[in-house]
Symmetry: C2
Subunit: 200 residues, 2 copies
């Protein structure tokens, strides 16, 4: 069995959101699993000595237009979030709390959080924002409070961040396919073509 594709993502990244909607069909086409690994990009940057990008206005203006157009071209719903930047600590911890017993459920949770934030523009910071998502997944909203003090979930989150740094991550989304790294939602098509050429 080939190794799973590692998919490191940050909830606040619109490009990682787009990639989250693109990677599974590509992986499936090549008989691969995807291991979803939310991380704090801020922590990754701190670990590699990068301060928050001081982007020129031109680049910020372009990106705001680009990610909307990218999402529209892919048929992925896109909105302007009410809250920015996003503190996604709770979503990350809840993901790893769920993943401890049910990875598929954790993935559905991540997609639901992404859809609420980037698809609908709603806030996903607090337990009150995520309670409805939990109910939709038949998870007790009280689990959110438990996630905030779940030492094992926190340990998994920190380990994912270290794993990301070890794999050279400097931005999101970050993919690792058989040791080959890919950065950006626009590289999902490269992963598809690369896997076609390097069949195991």
């Amino acid at each position: 069995m080939a190794e799973p594709i590692l998919f490191f993502f940050e909830f606040s990244s619109p490009y990682a959101y787009i990639a989250a909607n693109l990677i599974e069909p590509v992986a499936e086409r090549h008989g691969r699993e995807v291991r979803w690994l939310p991380v704090s990009l801020f922590h990754v940057w701190r670990a590699i000595g990068v301060t928050r990008d001081n982007l020129p206005r031109q680049k910020v203006d372009y990106m705001r237009r680009d990610w909307v157009r990218f999402a529209e071209l892919e048929g992925v719903p896109i909105a302007t979030p009410r809250t920015w930047p996003l503190d996604a600590k709770l979503a990350r911890l809840m993901f790893y709390r769920l993943a401890a017993t049910d990875e598929a459920l954790a993935r559905r949770f991540a997609l639901a959080v992404y859809h609420r934030y980037w698809g609908e523009g709603e806030d996903v910071t607090e337990t009150s924002h995520l309670a409805g998502i939990c109910e939709g997944l038949r998870v007790r909203p009280a689990e959110l409070d438990a996630a905030l003090v779940d030492g094992a979930a926190k340990a998994r989150l920190l380990a994912a961040g270290e794993l990301a740094v070890g794999h050279g991550m400097f931005g999101a989304p970050w993919f690792v396919v058989d040791g080959e790294t890919f950065f950006g939602a626009d590289r999902v098509v490269h992963i598809d073509r690369w896997l076609s050429r390097h069949r195991k």
Copy 2:
């Protein structure tokens, strides 16, 4: 007749090199012309107040691998240039000198320079490096010396740089399609799909 696609490029950019090999078939499919416009990215950056990116080592390492893989996936020859960074002033001026009377010839010149530098890794800085390319295009190599003191060519180069800045350029390749801007070789597929959706 629809407006041509503007294609701003920098000879030293491997991604602009890849894009130069991808854009024409896309434009042709949509009945569009491409207006090739080499610029000095350094001058564009200076105009918008950007100092040369202080990229983390992780990003530099990734990009060196990424552009090779990208080129290989597209079937575009790729080499490691002997000379880096490249001073492409002569190539830019020669392009605009040729374009004054023959845009198609200027484009073939640009592609030949790109192929020599990024496809074969050879230097393209001096007149001696470009003489063979000129001969291959049936252009007298003495035109290269003339290009260096061609005031009209210089004026066109500067105007292209101003046009690029006016269109929000901050990196190469930079495309403008009916006022919509696209950055990066990976966005050529977006241009293709965007034109399909917005037929004139």
